[in-house]
């Protein structure tokens, strides 16, 4: 009987692996193989054409002395520091507001999610027009209330903030959906009990919603941080490489793109990508260590 069971389990496992195979092949070709290749390339002087030579650590040495790389790290950290709290707080507020049984709620939820399913190119082009200094709607509206708007995308002092606004606008939708599913997982009996005890709305949020949402919040914080460390597409779409605003908005991935695909210094670009990987890895490990401290767990705190 036992043998039969294990044979059957084996068969089931084989079937499961068979179903997973296409995914595993995809991951190993596009993630694992590419990752290993990237590490190898980072120790060479690979350009776009011709033979690459092994150059040891010199790409990394050059990188650590590159002022542009530090500028890009600083910009990237600013993206993370501005966007992550903004996205988390705004989407939490919106999610709580949307978590009610009101007629037409589906429409609101759809509207909030719309930016996420809009093509990033369309988002980038549209906001580029909105931000235009000469003809843009935003400065037009600011002028209406007597404020002279800045050159959002071409002034290096403002370009990062302008990109942040669009980033936050376009990433809230996903976070709201995830928060909503978290909210719907909270049993209504907690709220009923609190109401009997005379708790007001804020107390209910503070003592029930927020702690019970903390696993969701934690997961979102981790993934949003990783996401904003890799910010690239909107910068690329809204600010041209010859714009004076690029200096203030250039992220690590943007700098990587310029090195690897405009200047064709692929070896150097690969080293840069590896450094970004290390930075994200360290930050994620730190977050995982901190998880126990601030994530509330319903069954006593040591569930695994």
């Amino acid at each position: 009987m036992r043998q039969y069971r294990s044979r059957r389990a084996k068969k089931e496992a084989m079937e499961a692996y068979l179903f997973l195979l296409p995914f595993l092949v995809g991951v190993s070709i596009f993630n694992v193989y590419a990752f290993v290749q990237n590490i190898i390339i980072s120790f060479t002087n690979k350009k776009s054409l011709g033979q690459a030579k092994f150059v040891g650590l010199s790409n990394y040495v050059k990188l650590l002395a590159d002022a542009k790389f530090y500028q890009a790290i600083q910009n990237t950290l600013l993206y993370v520091v501005i966007c992550v709290p903004a996205v988390i707080i705004l989407s939490l507020i919106i999610a709580v507001a949307l978590n009610q049984k009101i007629k037409g709620m589906g429409i609101y939820r759809t509207l909030i999610y719309l930016p996420v399913i809009t093509l990033p190119t369309a988002v980038g082009m549209l906001w580029k027009w909105l931000f235009n200094n000469q003809f843009g709607l935003i400065n037009e509206m600011l002028a209406g209330i007597g404020i002279t708007g800045p050159a959002w995308l071409s002034d290096p002092k403002w370009s990062l903030l302008a990109v942040c606004i669009v980033l936050i606008w376009s990433s809230i939708g996903t976070a709201v959906i995830i928060f909503l599913s978290g909210l719907q997982g909270i049993s209504t009996s907690y709220y009923e009990a609190a109401e009997i005890d005379g708790a007001n709305a804020w107390q209910k949020f503070r003592s029930i919603t927020f702690p019970l949402l903390s696993p969701t919040t934690f997961m979102l914080v981790v993934t949003e941080i990783i996401g904003f460390f890799q910010v690239f597409d909107l910068i690329f779409l809204m600010i041209s490489s010859t714009s004076s605003g690029m200096k203030g908005a250039r992220s690590i991935v943007m700098l990587f793109y310029e090195e690897a695909f405009t200047k064709f210094n692929k070896g150097y670009g690969a080293a840069m990508a590896n450094m970004l990987f290390l930075i994200i890895l360290v930050i994620t490990i730190v977050q995982m260590k901190l998880q126990k401290k601030w994530v509330y767990s319903e069954n006593g705190g040591d569930d695994k």
Binding site: K47, S48, N133, F135, A151, S154, S241, T242, S244, F264
Partner: protein, 419 residues
């Protein structure tokens, strides 16, 4: 049974015969690929391909259009994998791709078909040559002129400039315009340069002031007194409020500012001429660029290259020969998409515009100096150093002299590092 077998044999025989027939047909028909970067130009090139295919029924040309922003990224990736098109647009990067063995040396083909270089603009022929070998067929050249919005001159009561004007004349006109614009309570600019284009604005100005990109010994000449004077002249115009600053043209392209009536004149490269032609503008006039110290100006050149890894080199050469022919150059010139390299076809380019007379572009071609990008291995780096450092200078984060010295030092370091 027997009958069945017979039927099967007959059928398979027919099948084999038909395969043999299609086999030979496919052998006769050769397909070559042709890649280019310009959508406006692609329409005219499709017409050229049709003509060529009519004359060479056994060759089929497949056009591959990649937008400029991705052209070189894609080109390098495909060339690295021996997958580049058989024939392709090439510009000032001839040394880079000749050095990398991507460009087929064309001397043998040219000798066989008596290719006559004297029929083409010397600056284009010169920049298609690397180490004395011809690596590309001349296509066209950039040129520069100043486009004038006559309606605005009339509005402000300022006399329009004419051919033969100088840089100082331009400053005078700008001054008069500025006074009149301010008096009218408007906030537009007298003049306009595409400051974020090296080939389209600031490098040509350096040449006009007697400077150049590289010294005889191959080091950067961008820190010379002449180069500093040229860039300083542009910075002075920004300071005077004669031209929009770098930030403004980063936000709204310089050409757009002119088209929308925000500037009275524009220093116009041929590669942007179609934007003005296709805009809804009346009353514009094209005149020659103002002479500063020298008549020279820098002009990028365009070529057609052949893939050294092509499997159909003879057919590719036939197509290249057609693209260089009088017929093709005339069509290109008449369409106004590009100032053709073939001298006899250039007049058609001048006549191709309906909004203005394009002759000013053609007149100055003898003074055009081909753009250079330094040694092949460093050209990507040099290009990027120039684009980044000029922003610092125009945004006045650094003095002109200091900024250009830094630019030249960085370029020389890049040249030295790759040796």
């Amino acid at each position: 049974m027997n009958r069945k077998r017979l039927t099967a044999m007959v059928l398979s025989g027919v099948l084999a015969a038909s395969m043999a027939v299609t086999g030979t047909a496919a052998e006769d028909q050769v397909t070559i690929t042709f890649s280019l970067w310009d959508e406006i130009q692609s329409v005219v090139y499709q017409q050229l391909i049709d003509n060529f295919e009519e004359q060479n029924p056994n060759i089929h040309v497949e056009m591959q259009l990649t937008p400029w922003d991705q052209y070189w990224t894609k080109f390098d990736a495909s060339a690295g994998a021996n997958q580049a098109a058989d024939v392709f647009f090439m510009n000032i990067w001839v040394p880079k791709y000749a050095e990398a063995g991507i460009l087929e040396p064309l001397d043998d083909y040219m000798e066989k078909s008596d290719f006559d270089f004297s029929l083409y603009a010397p600056s284009v022929v010169e920049s298609s040559t690397y180490n004395g070998v011809h690596y590309a067929v001349p296509k066209g050249t950039d040129s520069l002129a100043v486009i004038v919005n006559s309606a605005l001159f009339e509005k402000y009561g300022v006399t329009e400039p004419e051919n033969g004007w100088t840089w100082d004349d331009m400053l005078t006109v700008c001054g008069e315009l500025k006074t009149a614009i301010e008096a009218a309570g408007d906030s537009i600019y007298p003049m306009d340069f595409i400051l974020n284009s090296a080939n389209g604005a600031w490098e040509p100005v350096i040449y006009e002031f007697g400077g150049q990109a590289f010294n005889e010994d191959g080091t950067s000449a961008l820190a010379s007194d002449e180069a500093v004077a040229g860039i300083q002249a542009l910075v002075d115009m920004i300071d005077e409020g004669y031209i929009p600053d770098y930030q403004t043209i980063s936000d709204t392209a310089a050409e757009e500012l002119f088209i929308s009536g925000q500037t009275c004149m524009l220093y116009l490269p041929t590669f942007s001429a179609q934007k003005v032609e296709q805009a809804e503008m009346e009353n514009v006039k094209l005149i020659q660029i103002p002479a500063a110290k020298s008549q020279d100006f820098l002009a990028a050149t365009m070529h057609y290259g052949m893939n050294a890894a092509s499997e159909h080199k003879d057919e590719a050469w036939k197509f290249l020969e057609y693209l260089a022919s009088e017929e093709a150059n005339d069509i290109i010139g008449k369409s106004g998409i590009d100032l053709p390299a073939r001298l006899s076809s250039q007049e058609y380019y001048g006549e191709s515009f309906t909004k203005f007379n394009g002759q000013a572009f053609v007149d100055v071609i003898p003074s055009a100096k081909p753009a250079e990008m330094g040694p092949a291995y460093a050209s990507d780096e040099i290009n990027s150093i120039m684009n980044e450092q000029i922003i610092e200078i125009f945004n006045k984060n650094v003095e002109v002299k200091e900024g250009l010295e830094q630019m030249a030092a960085d370029i020389n370091a890049a040249i030295e590092a790759g040796k």
